[in-house]
Symmetry: C2
Subunit: 225 residues, 2 copies
C-alpha cells in the first residue's frame, strides 16, 4: 500500500522496498531508522541541485549559486515538498512522537525526504537518485527567477516584499564578538508581517546584514511566496 | 605538458581539457576562473565520500559518519592531497598572488582540487568523478580506523595524543552567548605542543568541548598523524 502510492508520487519503483521502509522510519520507531540514509540523501540532494544550477545558469557566480541552493535544500523547502508527497501519511514514528504530532513536524518530514533520496541512491545509484530529486524539485527549479539571481540579498528581499506590499525589514546588530581586529557581527533581520526573524553573521555589519537578508528571503519564499 | 602529467596522477583523461585548465585557474588570473567548478566539486566530493563511508561502515551511526567525512573533506586534508598531486605546479594565479606565495596557500590548493573534481563531473558525469575522488582519496579511506569510529571525540583525541606521548589538551570556555534558556557555548581546545587551538560550539559546555575536540583531532591528524 505504502510503496504503491508513494512510488507513483516519487516516479520511482524500489528494487529493494525495505530501503524505502527504512527511509520512512524515524529513530523513535526502532533501531533500523533512517538517519544513515538521511546522511547519504543530504549529500546526494546537494550534489544534484548543485549540478542542476551549474547547468541551468552558466553565467551566475558561485556565491549566488550557493545561496539559491541553500534556499532549495533547507528544512522549510524540504518539509513543504514532503507534504506535497503526503510523506506524513507514510512516516513511521514511535508512540510518543506520534501523539505529539511528529508526523507533521518539519524536521521529521525534511529528514524523511532526504532519507528517501538516499534510499534511491543506495538502491540504484546516482542517476536514479538524480531523476527522483529532479522530479520532486521540478516546480522549484522551474520557479527560479534568473532576473533575481544577480542581485544582492538585501535588494532582492526588499523588491520581493515591495511586490507583495509588505513593509521593509528591520536590521539590528544583536552581537559583536571577538577581538577588535577580528570581530564577528551578528545581525537580525525582522519582517514582523511574516513573523520572520532571521540571523546572519559576517566580519562587518554590512556583510552580516546581507547574510541575514539571504536567510530571511529563503524563509519568506518557503512560507509560500 | 600540464595535462599529460596531471592526467596520470589523477588517473583521468579529460575529453575537454579546457575544463581542467579552468579548474586550475584562480580568480586572480582572469574571468574564466574555477569558482563555479569548485561549487560543483565540493558537492560531488561530499557525496562520493558520504557514499563511500556509508558502504564501508554499515554499523556506524550518522553522527560519526558526518564527523569522519568532515575530517576528510576539510581544507587541510584537501590541501595535503593537492600537494601530493603537485597541483601547485599547475595552478594559474595572477601576478600578485604568485608573488605572495599563493601557489602554496592551503585555501587555493584545496579550492583547486575541489574544482578538478567538479571539472571531471562536468566532463563525464558522476561515475567518472567518483573514480577520481576514490583514486585521490585511496590512502585516506584505507587509513580510517574502524576501532576509533565509535568513540566520542574527546576520548579519541586523548588516546591519539597519548599514543604519541603528547600532553593532553586544555579546554576553556571562551564565549557564552544568547539568553539564559537558549545559550550557545564556545569552547577552545588547545594542544600547545602541536600549536593547535580549535574552537567548537554547542548548547552546553560538554557538547561544545566535544565539538572542539573533533576539530582539534581533525587538525592534529591533518598535520601528519
Amino acid at each position: 500500500m505504502l510503496s504503491t502510492t508513494l512510488r507513483d508520487r516519487l516516479g520511482y519503483a524500489f528494487r529493494r522496498p525495505e530501503l524505502l521502509a527504512q527511509a520512512l522510519t524515524h529513530r523513535s520507531c526502532g533501531a533500523n531508522h533512517n538517519e544513515r540514509l538521511e546522511f547519504v540523501g543530504d549529500a546526494v540532494l546537494n550534489c544534484v541541485v548543485a549540478a542542476a544550477l551549474f547547468e541551468r545558469f552558466p553565467a551566475i557566480p558561485e556565491g549566488e549559486l550557493s545561496r539559491v541552493r541553500a534556499s532549495l535544500v533547507n528544512r522549510g523547502t524540504l518539509a513543504r515538498l514532503a507534504r506535497g508527497l503526503s510523506l506524513s501519511d507514510d512516516v513511521r514514528l514511535g508512540e510518543g512522537e506520534l501523539k505529539s504530532g511528529g508526523a507533521d513536524r518539519p524536521s521529521i518530514l525534511a529528514d524523511a525526504l532526504e532519507a528517501v533520496f538516499g534510499a534511491v541512491f543506495v538502491d540504484a545509484g546516482y542517476d536514479a537518485a538524480r531523476a527522483v530529486v529532479e522530479h520532486v524539485y521540478a516546480g522549484e527549479l522551474a520557479d527560479i527567477d534568473p532576473a533575481a539571481l544577480g542581485k544582492d540579498p538585501k535588494t532582492r528581499l526588499q523588491e520581493w516584499l515591495q511586490a507583495r506590499k509588505i513593509a521593509v525589514p528591520d536590521y539590528a546588530v544583536t552581537l559583536v564578538a571577538g577581538e577588535a581586529h577580528a570581530q564577528t557581527f551578528t545581525v537580525e533581520c525582522r519582517i514582523p508581517t511574516l513573523a520572520i526573524a532571521a540571523t546572519g553573521s559576517g566580519t562587518n555589519r554590512r556583510a552580516a546584514e546581507q547574510d541575514a537578508a539571504a536567510e530571511a528571503y529563503a524563509l519568506a519564499v518557503a512560507r509560500g511566496g
